[in-house]
C-alpha cells in the first residue's frame, strides 16, 4: 500500500495507520513523550516490586535458616538427651532441666551441679557466668556437649515460669505514722 519510501515525509494516511499498528516500529520520545514516561514508570514499579520481594524473601530466608531450624527443637530435656546420648555424641546442643537442690559446688572458675527432668539426672560442669536468677530448683537451659560422664556447658539460661507471685503477700504495709512507744 505504501508508495513513498520515507514514512515521515509525504506519507499517506494509510501509511500512517500502518505505521501506528506495527508494534515493531520504534517511535522517538518526541512523538509520544507521555507514553514513554508511563512505560518507564511501569518498569520502575516492577523493578521496585522485585527489590521488595527479594529483600523480603532474603529476610524470611535468613530467619528460617537461623531460627526455625533450631527453634522448633530448641532444647532436649535431660531424659531425652540421656536416652539419645549415642546419637548426640560430642555435638553442641541445648539441655533443659531443673537444678537439683544441694548439688551446687564451685570449683575454681567452674560450677558443678546436677540437672534433672522426668526422674533422670545428669551431672553438669559449667564454665560460663550464671545469670542473676540462677539458683537451686530453677529450670535452666544449658548450651554445651557431653564429655565423659559430664555435660560441659559454657552458657546458662534461666527458663522462668509464667507464674507471678508476690514475694511477701501477707506482709503488713509500711505506714508513715511513727511507732508508739510504750512506757
Amino acid at each position: 500500500m505504501s508508495t513513498t519510501q520515507d514514512p515521515h515525509r509525504g506519507a499517506s494516511t494509510q501509511d500512517a495507520t500502518a505505521l501506528a499498528a506495527d508494534p515493531s516500529t520504534e517511535r522517538s520520545g518526541d512523538e509520544f513523550p507521555g507514553a514513554q514516561a508511563m512505560a518507564s514508570r511501569r518498569r520502575s514499579t516492577k523493578r521496585k516490586l522485585v527489590v521488595v520481594a527479594l529483600v523480603l524473601a532474603g529476610a524470611i530466608g535468613f530467619l528460617f535458616y537461623k531460627g526455625i531450624g533450631s527453634a522448633l527443637n530448641y532444647y532436649e530435656t535431660v531424659s531425652q538427651a540421656v536416652a539419645s546420648r549415642a546419637q548426640l555424641g560430642t555435638s553442641v546442643f541445648r539441655l533443659e532441666g531443673a537444678v537439683v537442690p544441694d548439688s551446687l559446688h564451685e570449683t575454681g572458675s567452674a560450677l558443678s551441679f546436677s540437672l534433672q527432668s522426668n526422674g533422670v539426672t545428669q551431672a553438669v560442669i559449667d564454665h560460663g557466668s550464671p545469670p542473676q536468677l540462677f539458683r537451686p530448683g530453677v529450670h535452666v537451659v544449658l548450651v554445651g556437649h557431653f564429655q565423659g560422664r559430664y555435660f560441659v556447658s559454657n552458657r546458662i539460661m534461666v527458663k522462668h515460669s509464667a507464674n507471678y507471685i508476690a514475694e511477701h503477700p501477707n506482709r503488713v504495709p509500711r505506714t508513715s505514722a511513727p511507732l508508739k512507744r510504750h512506757p
Binding site: G67, L133, A162, N163, A166
Partner: protein, 284 residues
C-alpha cells in the same frame, strides 16, 4: 445541617482528646503501680516490673495486625470495598510495627537479667522477629507506586499472608520447646497466674495501652486521609497547569500556521509571476 456537622465533629474531637488523655493517665498509673506499689515477685524479685509493660505492648501489636487483616478482608470483599478499609489497614499496620519492635526491645531488656541473654533463636522470638519483618514488607509494598486499586489489592493479600504468623507466634510457646515462658493470662484455662494487685496493674496496663493504640490509630487515619486529599489536590493543580500550558502552546502554533512563512510567501510570489508569464505567452 452544617451546624449539626460542626457540633458532631467537635464532639468527635472531644472524645478523641478524652481517649488520648485517658490513655496517658492509664499509662502513668500503670508505671506508678508497677514501679512503686506492686510487690516484688517471689522468683524474679524487682525484675518482675517489666511484666506490666511487655505483655500489653505485645497485645497491642497483635491487635493492630488483627485490625489490618480484618480491614484487608473487608477491602478484598467486593461488597464492602472502600478506601476506608485500605487506609485503616495501613494505619493499623504502621502502629503494629512500632509496637512489635517495642515488644522485641522490651523483651530483650527483660531477657538479659532474667534469662541471661539478650536474644536467642527460640520459636517465640523467631516468630516475633518474622512478624516484624513481614509487616515491614507489607508497609514497603504499600509504598510501591501503582494505581490505587492494584496497590491496595496487592497489599491486602500481603497483609493476610503476614497475619498467618500471629497465631503461630502466640501458640509457639505451647507447640514447641521454647525459652520463653508460656502465656500468663491467655493460657489454656484462661486463669491468670498472677497475684492480686499485680494482676490488676497488668489489666490496667492492657487497657491503657489499648486506649493509646486507639488514639494513635485515629490520628494516623486522619493524617492518611489528609495526605490523600493533598495528593489529589496537587494532582488536580498540576493537571490544570499542564492543560493551560498545552492550550497556550496550541494557540501559538495555530497563529504560526495561519500566518504564511517567508519561504511560502516567496513561493507564492514566484508562482504568481510564472502564471503571469504563461498567460502573456499565450496571449502573444
Amino acid at each position: 445541617m452544617i451546624h449539626d456537622q460542626r457540633k458532631q465533629s467537635s464532639l468527635e474531637r472531644y472524645c478523641v482528646a478524652l481517649l488520648g488523655v485517658s490513655s496517658l493517665i492509664g499509662i502513668a498509673a500503670t508505671v506508678w503501680l508497677g514501679l512503686w506499689v506492686t510487690p516484688p515477685d517471689v522468683n524474679m524479685g524487682q525484675l518482675v516490673r517489666l511484666v506490666y509493660v511487655h505483655p500489653p505492648v505485645a497485645w497491642v501489636a497483635y491487635l493492630a495486625f488483627g485490625i489490618t487483616a480484618l480491614a484487608s478482608v473487608a477491602y478484598l470483599w467486593k461488597k464492602t470495598r472502600a478506601r476506608f478499609w485500605d487506609r485503616l489497614a495501613g494505619a493499623s499496620a504502621e502502629i503494629g510495627v512500632v509496637f512489635c519492635a517495642l515488644t522485641l526491645i522490651s523483651g530483650s531488656i527483660w531477657g538479659r537479667p532474667t534469662w541471661g541473654v539478650w536474644w536467642t533463636w527460640d520459636a517465640r522470638l523467631t516468630s516475633t522477629a518474622l512478624l516484624l519483618v513481614l509487616f515491614l514488607g507489607y508497609l514497603a509494598l504499600r509504598k510501591v507506586p501503582g494505581s490505587f486499586e492494584s496497590r491496595s489489592k496487592r497489599s491486602s493479600v500481603a497483609a493476610l499472608i503476614a497475619f498467618l504468623d500471629v497465631p503461630i507466634d502466640h501458640f509457639s510457646v505451647l507447640w514447641w520447646h521454647t525459652l520463653h515462658q508460656p502465656p500468663t493470662v491467655l493460657n489454656a484455662g484462661l486463669a491468670p497466674h498472677i497475684h492480686g494487685i499485680m494482676a490488676w496493674t497488668l489489666l490496667l496496663g492492657f487497657c491503657a495501652f489499648t486506649m493509646g493504640f486507639a488514639w494513635l490509630l485515629i490520628q494516623r487515619y486522619r493524617i492518611e486521609t489528609m495526605r490523600e486529599e493533598l495528593d489529589e489536590q496537587l494532582l488536580a493543580a498540576s493537571l490544570a497547569e499542564r492543560r493551560s500550558e498545552a492550550s497556550s502552546e496550541f494557540s501559538s502554533n495555530e497563529a504560526r500556521t495561519t500566518e504564511p512563512s517567508p519561504r511560502a510567501r516567496v513561493h507564492a510570489r514566484t508562482a504568481r509571476t510564472g502564471d503571469l508569464q504563461e498567460s502573456q505567452v499565450a496571449a502573444e
